[in-house]
């Protein structure tokens, strides 16, 4: 408590004027059985032209705090204590006691405080045009005719750098890409020229390059309009790139706040240190592996040759070929035993399809996958019959991205982990039970929990269950498709370490599909960079991440935020202009 006030007073010697100050804010949620204190005694200030980053892991209360500033709370949530003082252009007003229907609140929402948030896919109405949603915001807060509002909306779209704004204004959201939608969201939030912009994980769902562009854009708009910004994120890299001040939230409290330099290079609270450590850890390779480079003589487990998948190339009725998309285009690589091969690329680059082609859950258009089984026999995966495929799928397994959707909520952990063994008939009865317990121990879970259902576990624990299931049949290759994307940083590092540890014990090879360069760099020996279905560069992980050769790889790597405010990478990144 004392420390927080100290920081407040300490911070006032900054020149910038305070536009909003939040004082001792507490929020409660009334759940069915108990009261959840989601936010406890939180204080911070937002200054004109500056960015405060609110950092924390999922469940820390950062999003709830942000929405409380606009009084957008679920019905069971209440502000129990504290003030939200809005200053700036008009008289000081406390938002906390305003009622849901008051004119003052409606004026502040959108008029003085803008909000953008995470899901660019679902945060705009799918049945209204982009234009009509922006025009609505303009008309609500500014005295304009409909025609003027439309002009203004086009101007706003131009400011957020949407090409052909006069045409795009009449388009629907599903005709926009993720990055474009987030731009449109920003245009809408800026419609009434607010003094404060709250951005709740605005780039989490976007690719690194798009993220860099959006952050760039927000930064520029902020400078030109002199807005204060509250940026909520879990990504320390983003924080280092854009923050002026940082507040670290943990279990509903702000455990530490201060200037960005202080937090990154002079962190005091153990939680902040831990958060930074797990982020920085992912910035380098797991070193000891470099020594044990794969033995030369070994034969590759998987040989992928000229794999191609074309979608929609069916010839039309009149014999003319319709639109065809090469999702995977002439991809070749080898996977050595005990090797971790990373596949990185933006969404739509074909990396997930590639994983499915290798497993043959999607039938390749052309090309071959050769698999060397434990006895050294070579099998052409593309020519296997059903029985052969079953055997192949026993050796090559998949770990999914979403730890919440990939476990059947109506099966116990024991049933989930035992499922592949029952299907293939390898174990039964007592042996089955033992094997499940063994696997759970292997992934660091208590075997006593095997009778529980997935909902009783956290995201990280669920991913461990998914890994145990993948390991059940002693596979030789595991394809992990964005296996850590849905997890918090600290848990992400834990899961990666777990996988490395298991690999050492079980002689596994990984194909690790990810859009997150730092994860790949930490985990993989070699990295393949995919762009528009092609592998543009394939090489040693360190080399790709530090000294990329191809232009596309350079732009991709330089767009990754660097978790060190002294070396902002993103702001002077190389841009890759697509050649057609």
């Amino acid at each position: 408590m004392q420390a927080v006030t100290d920081h407040l007073t300490h911070a006032t010697d900054d020149a910038a004027e305070i536009v909003m100050s939040v004082e001792h804010l507490s929020l409660d949620f009334h759940l069915r059985t108990n009261v959840l204190h989601a936010v406890r005694d939180v204080s911070f200030v937002l200054r004109r032209g500056q960015t405060l980053c609110l950092v924390g892991e999922s469940g820390s209360g950062k999003s709830v705090t942000a929405r409380a500033l606009l009084r957008i709370l679920d019905k069971n949530g209440t502000i129990t204590n504290g003030k939200i003082l809005l200053r700036g252009k008009e008289d000081e007003i406390d938002i906390a006691p305003l009622t849901e229907r008051s004119k003052e609140l409606l004026h502040i929402r959108g008029g003085r405080v803008g909000l953008i948030f995470q899901e660019p896919m679902s945060s705009l109405s799918p049945v209204h045009t982009i234009g009509s949603q922006i025009i609505e915001a303009v008309l609500l807060h500014r005295a304009m005719s409909k025609k003027e509002a439309r002009e203004e909306a086009i101007e706003l779209l131009r400011q957020v750098e949407i090409p052909n704004p006069d045409k795009m204004i009449d388009r629907y959201t599903f005709e926009f890409s993720g990055g474009m939608r987030q731009r449109a969201m920003i245009a809408m939030a800026l419609a009434a020229d607010p003094e404060i912009l709250i951005a709740d994980e605005p780039t989490t769902a976007l690719d690194v390059t798009t993220q860099a562009e959006i952050l760039d854009l927000i930064r520029r708009l902020q400078v030109s309009r002199g807005m204060a910004m509250l940026l909520i994120t879990h990504d320390m890299g983003v924080v280092a790139e854009v923050a002026d001040a940082v507040a670290v939230m943990h279990f509903g409290r702000i455990v530490e706040q201060g200037g960005v330099e202080d937090i990154f290079h002079n962190a005091k609270h153990p939680y902040t240190k831990r958060l930074l450590a797990s982020t920085v850890k992912l910035e380098q390779s797991h070193l000891e592996r470099d020594e044990a480079a794969a033995p030369e003589k070994a034969e590759p487990v998987l040989q992928v040759r000229n794999l191609t998948k074309v979608y929609g190339s069916a010839t039309g009725w009149l014999g003319k070929s319709t639109f065809a998309l090469k999702a995977v285009d002439d991809v070749s690589f080898d996977l050595m035993p005990g090797e971790n091969l990373g596949i990185v690329g933006e969404s739509g680059s074909g990396k997930t399809t590639l994983g499915r082609l290798i497993l043959r859950t999607v039938e390749p258009t052309s090309g071959a996958v050769a698999y060397h089984d434990a006895d050294g026999q070579e099998k052409q995966v593309t020519e296997l019959d059903q029985a052969g495929m079953r055997e192949f799928h026993r050796d090559v397994r998949l770990i999914f991205q979403d730890p919440f959707a990939s476990l059947n909520p109506r099966m116990t952990v024991r049933q989930i982990v035992a499922d592949p063994m029952i299907v293939s008939g390898t174990h039964r009865g007592k042996a089955l039970e033992q094997r499940v317990a063994e696997l759970l121990e292997l992934v660091g879970l208590d075997p006593l929990t095997m009778e529980r259902y997935p909902h009783a576990f956290s995201g990280g624990q669920r991913q461990r269950i998914g890994i145990a299931r993948a390991l059940a049949l002693d596979p030789r290759v595991i394809i992990a498709d964005e296996a850590t994307a849905a997890l918090d940083v600290s848990i992400r590092a834990q899961i990666l370490d777990l996988l490395l540890d298991i690999q050492k014990r079980l002689q596994l090879s990984f194909i690790f599909i990810s859009h997150d360069i730092s994860v790949v760099r930490y985990f993989c020996d070699r990295v393949a960079v995919m762009h528009r279905g092609k592998i543009v560069e394939l090489g040693d992980a360190e080399q790709i991440c530090t000294a990329p050769v191809e232009a596309y790889t350079k732009s991709l790597i330089s767009a990754v935020p660097n978790p060190d405010p002294r070396h902002k990478r993103m702001m002077h990144r190389t841009r890759f202009t697509a050649q057609g």
């Binding site: 409606l106 209204h128 809408m188």
Partner: protein
């Protein structure tokens, strides 16, 4: 859009053909034909039946032809001459009989559909927004009662109430004195006074299920991020709800036309018999009992076509309402 409509219209042709075949097979399914049921009725009444005359009629009506020949004659008659055949029982062309009744059927059905919408939309929105409130529980309670009560009980109750307490002349769609009177304001008022009972009776079940559907859909939509976006813009709550989530939750409402319309038309039958309405239901029932095949077949065909038209209308409205459908 126009292409879409034309495509849908073209798709309707084979479907209609299929419906006509099924309709014809259905009326041929019961053993015997109109003449056998006529003979049995006549012998029951002690009348004399002349076998030669029967054989002659059989030849005239073509009852001895194979079924596909009969079907071919019937369908070409409809397609080429608009001739739906001849009702044996009424001794009049089927088309005359049908058009008389179809008008009443359609007006009752449409009125019921409007009633269903007008009642279920506001109540559904209210129920979703104030979930688990007293008002929601009351609406849910009456909704389930509406679903559970058989139509004819409701019809009898309403008739009793309106006769006993409102002193209204019930049954039918018009009072005796207006039936052959020319159209006038008084006739219209009289129609409304009669119409409300069938409309309420027929609409209740549909209203109840639509309230439940709208409540469930809207509850899902209310927690979507775009609703928060709209709130964060500074829109007042009722505008937020009406403009965004309700718009999307309306989809099942509109597609309801497709299934409510045939439901209403066929559901009318029992109610219509109880209330003595001059709609198609009772006539169809009699035609089926007496195996008046052309009349029955034409009714089934027309109702099938109405269902198709209802589906078409609902699909076109859906496309207008939701650009995601329009663009695919």
């Amino acid at each position: 859009m126009l292409r879409y409509i034309i495509k849908r219209l073209l798709y309707m042709i084979p479907t209609l053909l299929g419906i006509s075949m099924i309709a014809f097979v259905i009326i041929q399914l019961p053993p015997g034909d109109y003449l056998t049921s006529l003979i049995s009725r006549m012998t029951q009444n002690g009348e004399n039946v002349d076998p030669a005359q029967i054989a002659q009629m059989r030849a005239i009506y073509g009852f001895d032809d194979p079924i596909w020949v009969q079907y071919f004659k019937w369908i070409t008659g409809i397609l080429l001459r608009g001739d739906f055949g001849y009702s044996f029982e009424w001794n009049r062309p089927v088309s005359e009989l049908i058009w008389q009744r179809m008008g009443a059927t359609l007006s009752v059905s449409l009125a019921a559909l409007l009633f269903v919408w007008a009642v279920s939309l506001p109540i559904g929105i209210y129920s979703a927004m104030r979930r688990h409130s007293v008002g929601d529980h009351i609406a849910t309670f009456f909704g389930f009662i509406g679903l559970a009560i058989p139509n004819f009980i409701l019809a009898l109750t309403l008739m009793y109430v309106s006769y006993k307490y409102l002193g209204q002349n019930v049954g039918g769609l018009q009072s005796q004195e207006f039936i052959d009177a020319p159209a006038s304001w008084a006739k219209f008022v009289d129609l409304l006074a009669h119409l409300w009972i069938p409309v309420v009776v027929i609409g209740t079940a549909g209203t109840a299920s639509l309230i439940r559907i709208l409540r469930a859909n809207l509850t899902d939509e209310l927690s979507k991020p775009y609703v928060i976006t709209a709130k964060a813009k500074g829109l007042p709550e009722y505008k937020v709800v009406l403009k965004y989530p309700v718009r999307i939750a309306l989809n099942p409402f509109v597609s309801a036309i497709g299934w409510v319309l045939p439901n209403l038309i066929s559901g009318v039958t029992i109610t219509a018999i109880v209330l003595n309405l001059p709609t198609a239901g009772p006539l169809l029932l009699r035609a089926l009992i007496s195996q008046d095949m052309y009349l029955a077949g034409s009714f089934i065909l027309l109702m099938g076509s109405l269902t198709l038209v209802g589906m078409l209308i609902s699909d076109i409205l859906l496309a207008l309402l939701d650009p995601r459908i329009r663009f695919n």
